[in-house]
Point group: C2
């Protein structure tokens, strides 16, 4: 028996998110199916980030145990033969038997992309949220700076989400214009349900002038979801980096 | 009666190319349909570049004549309401009554993208051609340099294509690595049928070591399609810029 870690990239457009649900396509469901066909074992992978419907990833992480004699690093090639074109393994490797992708001191980085120009660009539509309302990137960055550090992010968590604590740490949060796109890049030790999309929706309100940048301080303090901006659409969100402080060999970033 | 120019962006993945064909989806067909519905006139647009099945564009150009009283610059908004999400007008404007998008001294720029890493990345699959064989960008650039200038590009034209002359001018041709992608960017006064894809396929042969960079000189001189490399797949190709030397106001580039 060995424990195998997969680094998984996907275009989430046509999936109902990571987590398995009967009767609808999910990333976890496709991985379990490909593993069952390849290894002849009933396998349920454990995912690091249970991304929502429509969200993309360059490097989500999945772990499973298997009795196969196929070397762990060869599984990527064999699985990619069986996976659909919108889900591809980027790396497979053996890890310690007690490694759990959610119980470890990892850093995750998400990017939220906004196409901000007069008309939508078809080749960006799957991976960016479009708005023609001009957004002021400097104001957005000023607001973003208030969110960096350890805070109670209850105002930035979907109502009804179950979690032990709503305290999280954001290490970096940048807002940058790249040609016609605005890229919000956030690195933290973990994110609450919808947290990055609520941050993006709130920063967009600041960018269009509806909120003063300083309002973000008050939103944090209020610990009230209703005080923050709307949840930005899923298509703009991509999980782009995963890092383990104690295992440089696992690091994977774009 | 006025003549209107449209700048059209599209994701060509799901279309049988620009040119109208009965019974299959084409860019021209979708534009004519949206114009007919909007204006109540039978309109057949004239396109600047009749891109192939699966090829994308940020800024192809289409021209038509109309009696409408809607101001030309408002047509973009009204058409985008009726067009599918993978075709969007970027600009509409009135032009001189004798303006013809193919009979003018324009410069076009195409990009050919190659995803060159160990495993395919799902979010790149629609707009890049994937190969895991390592390509040497410096060799490719050396070969590309032989193609710059005015040449007879008969070796780089699909067999059977009808054209008055196979002489064209390439102004610039660069090969650059951008993270995991290799971007071939070529600017010229016009391109023969499949010319950019045959250039890309030939440069890939150089990049993987099958051809010496100098072989490209011999391929040009041979005036024989069979001497050049294969036609690279359509998905990697995007029309990215259109420039008119005498009309800076028309220029459109990404």
């Amino acid at each position: 028996m060995k424990r195998v870690m997969l680094v998984v990239a996907y275009d989430g457009t046509d999936y109902h998110g990571w987590q398995f649900q009967p009767g609808v396509p999910t990333i976890e469901g496709e991985l379990n199916k490909a593993l069952r066909e390849l290894l002849g074992e009933e396998i349920s992978v454990i995912g690091a980030s249970r991304t929502d419907s429509g969200v993309h990833a360059f490097c989500n992480v999945a772990v499973f145990d298997t009795d196969t004699r196929i070397p762990a690093e060869k599984l990527s090639y064999a699985l990619n033969q069986r996976l659909p074109e919108d889900i591809k393994i980027q790396r497979s490797m053996e890890v310690a038997g007690n490694f759990h992708p959610r119980h470890c001191n990892s850093k995750k980085t998400y990017e939220y992309r906004i196409l901000n120009c007069e008309f939508p660009l078809p080749t960006k539509r799957r991976y960016s949220h479009f708005t023609y309302v001009h957004l002021d990137v400097e104001r957005m960055q000023k607001a973003a700076d208030y969110l960096v550090g350890e805070h109670d992010f209850k105002s930035f968590c979907a109502v009804g989400a179950v979690t032990e604590t709503t305290v999280r740490t954001i290490y970096t949060l940048s807002v940058e214009r790249q040609d016609r796109e605005i890229v919000i890049r956030v690195c933290g030790n973990g994110f609450l349900y919808n947290m990055v999309r609520i941050i993006a929706g709130t920063l967009m309100e600041v960018g269009r002038g509806n909120y003063a940048p300083e309002k973000v301080k008050d939103i944090l303090v209020s610990e009230d979801r209703a005080a923050a901006g709307p949840t930005a659409p899923a298509c703009g969100l991509t999980l782009v980096a995963y890092e383990w402080p104690d295992g440089a060999e696992f690091n994977y970033s774009f």
